[in-house]
Symmetry: C2
Subunit: 233 residues, 2 copies
DNA sequence: CGGGAGATTGACTGATCTCAACCCGGGTGG
DNA sequence: CCACCCGGGTTGAGATCAGTCAATCTCCCG
């Protein structure tokens, strides 16, 4: 992690009309220390680790972070991805618990940090901010519930189809309509909740059936309808 | 659903020092209409259904409610249980979405309802209340994440062992140390995320191995250590 | 007593996992 | 420059966990 940020860049990131911080008053805004700009993380670098104490919020300015739990045998389970505009670490901050997930950059990323005490202060004194946070938590909760049901009830094939659709919706496509996000087969497996080899086999199948196109890690969805059908979405 | 409650009983339920509503001021308290007391639900009755609009919070005074999602093929996936003191329906209320789960009484229950607008008002104007709600959401989120990882990575056997431990921790035991909560084999399967027959076979195994004792739906954990080991907890 | 729900058991099947071998491309140290 | 190594990616074979189907049993209820 490296700090190259400038103060204006830091301030700018909170001004975004879609930022969680958009409800802060001018005065509250100025409470955020701007002694240093955003932090830079390279692909592979860890933002925070499972079991460590988190001292505040991470607001993602740029890049993609994978958030995962490590299972009993060391296998990762990817819970979600954070991308531009998302916040991380608020669960632990709010509930005063140790982090229950690890956050790792899978693309070079730029992150603003806001101290937990400050966030708690905002929650207590700014109803709109509290409501916003609560809504974010509730949205995540809804997604988690869907996830649970899917993993518990669907086959690996169904889940993989669904994950591909989700990735397509959640992340940008490049000029050739390939998914921008670059995941190893193992990471895909860790989203779906299966073995790497299973993902590989199913991807080949999907490819053979002309549902997707693959160039190394780059994947393009060709027949979204069919994937919807396969995934029972 | 039937309304037999008295006003005092209704008021009383918010006074509990462990209630979410404990942070409300006297004035806020009085904003809650007390024109009717708590509602009574019999075992099997539905509090709210997936896909319906929820108009507020359900605060559980007494009883047990199972909260589940219905999967593609109609199979239930139990997400969690609500018991005395828990709230239900806040996700949908806060995020203004339709209910994504169904809540059904598995024991005769007694529930207080508070309108959503009021709850939102409290969140906006009472920082402690907002913080409390946020913490509840965060706790659930943490549990959901654990759940995801478990279902994705553990075997059915491991998960069943874990579920038994959880049930023992979460619910009271009767005088004979049997779990108070009465679940069908199918409901157990719908927590674990497996087939009913698998649960039956594994329960018999656990019983043969003297880890648990079974009398119909009543289950007693005998060897908690061993279950811990089996469940990799 | 008949009916129905839930519980149990057995047999079978098949989706997935595991293990092992092999490939490929990039980076590196000699 | 080249051999080697290492992290992914692929493929095949075999093992197995767990789901499905079907028959039976046990209560409990009207």
């Amino acid at each position: 992690m490296e700090n190259k940020g400038s103060v204006p860049a830091f301030n700018e990131c909170f001004r975004d009309t879609k930022s969680v911080f958009r409800h802060l008053t001018k005065e509250e805004f100025e409470m955020i220390p701007i002694d240093h700009g955003p932090d830079f993380y390279k692909r592979g670098e860890i933002v925070y680790s499972e079991g460590s104490r988190i001292h505040g919020f991470y607001y993602l300015l740029k890049g993609i972070i994978k958030i995962f739990k490590t299972g009993f045998d060391g296998k990762e389970q990817i819970i979600r991805f954070a991308k531009k505009g998302d916040i991380m670490g608020f669960r632990s901050t709010i509930s005063n618990e140790l982090a229950c997930t690890t956050a790792k950059a899978i693309e070079d990323s730029q992150i603003c940090f806001v101290h937990g005490d400050l966030v708690k202060h905002f929650v207590k004194n700014n109803g709109d901010f509290a409501t916003e946070l609560l809504q974010i938590a509730c949205r995540e909760l809804g997604e988690a519930n869907d996830y649970i049901t899917d993993i518990a009830q669907k086959t690996v094939r169904e889940r993989l189809a669904e994950v591909l659709i989700h990735l397509k919706m959640e992340f940008d496509l490049d000029r050739d309509n390939f998914l921008q996000i670059s995941l190893t087969r193992e990471e895909l497996a860790n989203i779906v909740g299966t073995a790497t080899e299973s993902v590989i086999r199913l991807l080949s199948e999907f490819k053979a059936d002309k549902l997707i196109e693959i160039h190394g890690r780059r994947i393009r969805v060709i027949d979204e309808k069919a994937l919807h059908r396969i995934g029972n979405i």
